[in-house]
């Protein structure tokens, strides 16, 4: 009997038994209750009480020591993007917190759910220019969905619950909680952690209006040339199946933004390719020929629309979005469908008629063939000269069969990777889309691997961006995670060079970048690697990288002055897309 009773006691959640605990312990209990398993962080003076408490939570919370807070937050982003969970990041006050800013801005513009915890000086020192004091709340306000400064431990359970609720609900985004050192130390009567599902001033989902669904369905049913463009909203809303059912019922050609890629497989017959500045030929040109444009979970970024006053002017526009502020922000909609697309898409699918659209779909194929002839063939299957970025991605596709998670940096290689990488599964492409953060790939790949440990993760970076966060090789070394690093080295800051070539009369101003021997650098961190420059070596080298036990760096020397085409030059309409 006695034993049975003891067993009963242990079933009682940890949180209920604890009475007097420190703010730090309450915080960590909150993380455990929210299902957090991984934290990316870097300690420092003002967050020491939390790290001290963390010492006893090693079993429940896997803390990854990064080499720089920016690396930490990008890892958090990668984790969130590959897993669909909230990324958690720790940093100390002052410089620790300011090093998070780039990642916060990146997560804000790409709607990535994060909860960042920063230490802060003691409450009585606020505003005194104390050591490592920065006004973190005000600095981070423009780049967070929500932020809050805690100065009393009693607030911690409720604030943490709010933080997670806000970060992941509605249109997700980064939340930052700044906790003064006294609140971390302070003991208080902890009555347990209650998750939040309602904040009265916060409406994460607009109410679905049937009027709009009906109007949208009627427009689609009348359309002769309907065209679907989708973004990350489909993935964030976990509405991939609903989306596929929708386009399949209406036989609607669908093109993606670079954050939306992978929501349906690359090879799906209705997937007509990539939108925007370096997107595919057909989707761009035909945007200005369709009669109904159905935008789903995307925000008409200028890189997607090109010149706005010449964007899809002939079309009626249906915009499905969870964020009412996105409706009519850049493009005037005919029918706004406010709501979570996981709910609105099935309603719409029910009302649309089964159609063939054979001729219209054929048009996309024709443009595709033109693009293959003019651009893609030479990029993917060159027979002479130096290697191209495209052929590296193409060979990688053959080996991974579209099963890998591809994490890219920013620049030419990013456009090439997004254009040509094959994806069979959702949450397979992790890239810095809105902010365009160089240095994103390596740390984000580390995070992505932690978020999806059973999948192969390949970080693809250029020689420029790789050097921006190269210190995170140290993180890989210490935590022993398996990340494949593919550096496409063209010995230039390629995208800027391309623009200088095209628009600044080849005045190559500070784009000629020197790099260290990356293989040696990796080797110094205990990571095996290889550098190749010959086409014949490519397939085997990629195979060796993928089959290697543990992390591996493969540097591929590619053509120095290759341009990414097609291209919609800035200030031009999507239909003025250039093939060369």
């Amino acid at each position: 009997m006695e034993i049975a009773q003891e067993e009963l006691l242990t079933i009682v959640p940890e949180t209920k038994k604890i009475k007097e605990v420190s703010g730090s312990v309450a915080l960590l209990e909150g993380l455990v209750a929210e299902g957090v398993d991984t934290i990316f962080g870097y300690p420092g003076g003002a967050i020491m009480p939390i790290y001290d408490a963390l010492y006893d939570y090693k079993e429940k919370l896997n803390h990854i020591l990064v080499r720089h807070e920016q690396g930490g937050i990008h890892a958090g982003q990668g984790y969130a993007r590959s897993s669909g969970k909230v990324g958690v990041v720790f940093a100390t006050s002052g410089p620790g917190a300011t090093n998070l800013i780039t990642g916060l801005a990146d997560a804000q513009i790409d709607s990535t759910p994060l909860v960042c915890i920063t230490g802060q000086v003691f409450a009585h020192l606020l505003g005194t220019d104390a050591f490592q004091e920065t006004d973190v709340i005000n600095i981070t306000t423009p780049v967070t969905k929500w932020n809050y400064q805690v100065t009393d431990a009693n607030e911690i359970p409720e604030v943490m619950a709010k933080a997670f609720h806000i970060a992941k609900s509605g249109r997700p985004g980064p939340v930052l909680i700044d906790i003064t050192k006294n609140a971390q130390i302070q003991k208080f009567n902890f009555e347990g952690y209650v998750k939040s599902n309602h904040i009265r001033s916060y409406r994460p989902k607009p109410i679905v209006r049937n009027e709009y669904i009906e109007q949208a369905a009627e427009l689609i049913n009348q359309a002769k040339k309907p065209f679907v463009i989708w973004g990350q909203g489909v993935i964030l809303g976990k509405a991939e199946k609903e989306f596929q059912a929708f386009i399949e019922k209406g036989n609607l050609p669908a093109a993606w933004t670079i954050l939306g890629v992978g929501a349906i497989p690359t090879d799906h017959e209705l997937n007509v390719g990539m939108l925007g500045m370096h997107g595919n030929y057909g989707p761009n040109v035909l945007t200005n020929e369709c009669d109904v444009l159905i935008a789903i979970g995307m925000r008409f970024d200028d890189r997607v629309t090109g010149r706005l006053d010449k964007y899809a002017k002939q079309a009626k526009i249906i915009h499905l979005d969870i964020d009412p502020a996105e409706i009519d922000k850049n493009v005037q909609t005919t029918v706004p469908v406010w709501g979570d697309c996981k709910e609105t898409l099935p309603l719409l699918t029910k009302l649309i008629e089964e159609k063939k659209h054979t001729e219209w779909l054929q048009k996309f194929k024709e443009y595709q063939q033109k693009e293959v002839k003019a651009v893609i063939d030479a990029e993917l299957n060159p027979t002479a000269g130096e290697m191209t970025m495209g052929e590296v991605i193409n060979q990688l596709n053959i080996l991974t069969q579209g099963e890998a998670i591809i994490v890219t940096d920013v620049g030419q290689h990013q456009m090439v990777a997004c254009r040509y990488a094959k994806f069979n599964k959702t949450r397979s492409n992790v890239t810095s889309g809105g902010l365009g953060t160089m240095g994103f790939a390596l740390p984000a790949a580390i995070g992505a691997k932690f978020g999806a440990q059973d999948r192969t993760v390949v970080a693809i970076a250029g020689d420029g961006g790789f050097q921006m966060t190269i210190q995170e090789l140290g993180t890989i070394m210490q935590c022993g995670i398996d990340v494949k690093i593919l550096v496409l080295n063209n010995r230039f800051l390629g995208m800027v060079r391309q623009w200088q070539e095209l628009f600044n009369e080849r005045r190559y101003s500070f784009v000629d970048i020197q790099s260290p021997d990356f293989v040696k650098v990796a080797s110094a961190y205990g990571i095996d690697g290889k550098c190749i420059s010959e086409r014949e070596e490519l397939q085997n080298a990629l195979k060796e990288m993928l089959e290697h036990k543990g992390s591996y760096l493969l540097e591929v020397m590619v053509t120095k002055e290759n341009n990414v085409f097609p291209m919609v030059p800035q200030g031009c309409s999507v239909s003025e897309i250039r093939l060369k």
Binding site: T141, P142, S201, G571
Partner: protein
């Protein structure tokens, strides 16, 4: 393609089919009483380089709910986008915007003038009477008058008092009553429910859409 020209052209296309002229708008914001929220709202304007002409923030008729009254001169298209961005903030409950025709508004002004000139000059007394000003404080050395009204009205007394040795002047931000408003009490109850009624996420399009979109 001239990039600058293209960009100018594309920015013109924003308010297509809408009233393009700039005019005074009054944005009313109901919020939680939270430190930092003023900054969060202010940066929505500063990020777009839009000037706030007048800003009043004070507790509303409901305990714990604050009300912002913001005045700016912009096109309706810009104001609508600003309103949506403000409403998107976690601690903002509701945002409305109105033209001057749709509100009753007042500003308050205080004028400090030397008492001796008031006492000596009959003209001043008449001036104050005409402007409906009221003395708040009368001291040996100075007197403080108060008046409320539209900007032009408080301005008129200001110009009139300048020649009589006006020492100091201050004017409050605009506060406004919305003609069509039923207050916020009933709304707040809806916000407090887990499943809100249709009122909470009002959609200004719904009634107007017929005009824009017909099948």
């Amino acid at each position: 393609m001239d990039i600058k020209k293209a960009q100018a052209a594309s920015s013109l296309s924003f308010g297509e089919g809408r009233a393009e002229a700039k005019q005074e708008y009054n944005i009313t914001v109901y919020t939680e009483n939270q430190i930092g929220l003023l900054n969060r709202i202010a940066i929505i304007f500063t990020r777009r380089k839009i000037n706030i002409e007048s800003l009043n923030t004070s507790p509303s008729e409901i305990d714990s709910i604050h009300r912002f009254d913001i005045v700016l001169t912009e096109t309706e298209d810009v104001v609508r986008k600003l309103a949506r961005q403000i409403e998107k903030q976690v601690e903002v409950l509701k945002v409305y915007y109105h033209t001057n025709d749709e509100i009753i508004w007042q500003e308050m002004a205080l004028y400090k003038v030397p008492t001796d000139t008031i006492a000596e000059k009959v003209l001043v007394e008449r001036l104050l009477r005409e402007h409906g000003a009221r003395a708040v404080v009368i001291r040996k050395d100075y007197t403080v008058f108060e008046t409320t009204g539209h900007r032009t009205e408080t301005d008129n007394l200001l110009y009139a008092l300048q020649p009589f040795g006006l020492i100091e002047f201050v004017r409050s931000a605009r506060i406004a009553i919305i003609k069509s408003s039923e207050g916020f009490n009933r709304k707040l109850r809806e916000f407090e429910q887990l499943e809100p009624g249709q009122e909470v996420s009002e959609n200004e399009f719904l009634s107007k859409r017929d005009k824009v979109f017909t099948m």
